[in-house]
């Protein structure tokens, strides 16, 4: 039963990744669609961040340490374009504010 669930999920998740790569392999993308696709990466990342900080009931599970940590990480990412620096800034702020409060 568990093996069946793993295999079905594996087939499904591969199909979701492959579907449009194959279905649109010869499709001439109109300019408006190409413009729309430019926003996929920033919007999915943004949505993922919020989904990680909310409970399944829809409550925000983030206090000052989390919010300030994310602001510092965003600032570090913008100024240094380096994900390691952003991680250090974000986690450092999160731990520091958490220790103070």
């Amino acid at each position: 039963m568990i093996a069946t669930a793993i295999i079905l999920t594996g087939i499904g998740s591969y199909a979701m990744r492959a579907v449009f790569i194959f279905a649109l392999a010869r499709y001439a993308f109109p300019p408006l669609l190409l413009r729309a696709l430019e926003y996929v990466a920033p919007t999915v990342m943004a949505a993922l961040v919020i989904s990680m900080l909310t409970t399944p009931e829809g409550e925000l599970a983030a206090g000052p340490p989390e919010i300030l940590g994310l602001v510092c990480a965003a600032f570090a990412a913008k100024t240094t374009s380096n994900h390691i620096f952003a991680l250090i800034a974000g986690m450092g702020t999160f731990w520091l504010i958490g220790a103070i409060i």
């Binding site: 093996a3 669930a5 793993i6 295999i7 079905l8 999920t9 594996g10 499904g12 998740s13 591969y14 979701m16 990744r17 492959a18 449009f20 790569i21 194959f22 279905a23 649109l24 392999a25 010869r26 993308f29 408006l32 413009r35 729309a36 696709l37 926003y39 996929v40 990466a41 920033p42 919007t43 999915v44 990342m45 943004a46 949505a47 993922l48 961040v49 919020i50 989904s51 990680m52 900080l53 399944p56 009931e57 829809g58 925000l60 940590g69 994310l70 990480a73 965003a74 570090a76 990412a77 374009s81 994900h83 390691i84 952003a86 991680l87 974000g90 986690m91 999160f94 731990w95 958490g98």
Partner: protein
């Protein structure tokens, strides 16, 4: 001809490494979920090569552990992973210039971090793009295989009171900023955050999908009135 693609392969691996940092504590969360669901270690770990998607794997085994039916657990896991269809559409134009075998293999390693890297780097040469993508993808893949194996064997080895799992939203904020090099993209991202928050109570994180579609449509309408 030969040196540039090799450089891109190395670059892909190096770019993938820091993005793996938050996946490491998550691999131990995965190990705990497998243990709590009462699933044999090897069977739980087999989902890493078969599914290759941390959130999808954790959702599946959490629901199985709670006694859900196969149909319910699989469909919930697939809704969690449905955002990969956005990645598939977005990369379809780039994959048009690629050989058939790469479409099969590339789709297998198309995860959040590999997708964003391919969007941030914007490599035009098809050979360089392919090497970069595969190298980043399989670096991540190898590390995920090793760390989930450690996760199921060691279980709760990383203490949760440190809050190391907070590294995941921190990294994704950093990726969001890297992918938002223009003001309009940042505005779309901010909108997606707001809509996701409003829809956070929807089951299986379905709010993510709606938030992306809504904010992309709104930003297209907004930027049409004032072309830059």
């Amino acid at each position: 001809m030969n040196t540039a693609p090799t450089r891109h392969a190395l670059r892909g691996s190096l770019d993938a490494l820091p993005l793996f940092i938050p996946a490491l504590p998550f691999a131990f969360v995965f190990g705990v979920v497998v243990a709590e669901a009462g699933i044999p270690e090897w069977l739980g770990w087999s989902s890493s090569p078969i599914i290759f998607g941390g959130a999808i794997q954790v959702t599946l085994f959490t629901l199985i552990g709670e006694g859900a039916s196969v149909a319910a657990a699989v469909s919930a896991a697939l809704i969690v992973g449905a955002r990969h269809m956005f990645y598939s559409v977005t990369l379809a134009p780039r994959f048009q210039h690629q050989p058939g075998w790469f479409r099969w293999v590339g789709a297998y390693v198309l995860i959040d971090q590999v997708f964003v890297l391919s969007q941030i780097k914007r490599i035009d040469d098809p050979v360089a793009f392919r090497r970069y993508f595969l190298s980043a993808g399989f670096t991540f893949w190898t590390l995920w295989m090793i760390s989930t194996a450690l996760g199921v064997v060691l279980g709760p080895a990383i203490p949760t009171e440190w809050g190391v799992e907070f590294a995941a939203p921190v990294l994704f904020v950093s990726l969001m900023m890297a992918a938002s090099e223009r003001q309009d993209k940042l505005a779309a991202a901010a909108m997606a955050m707001g809509v996701t928050y409003l829809l956070a109570s929807l089951p299986n994180r379905a709010g993510i999908l709606i938030a992306v579609i809504v904010s992309v449509c709104v930003i297209l309408l907004a930027t049409r009135k004032q072309p830059t």
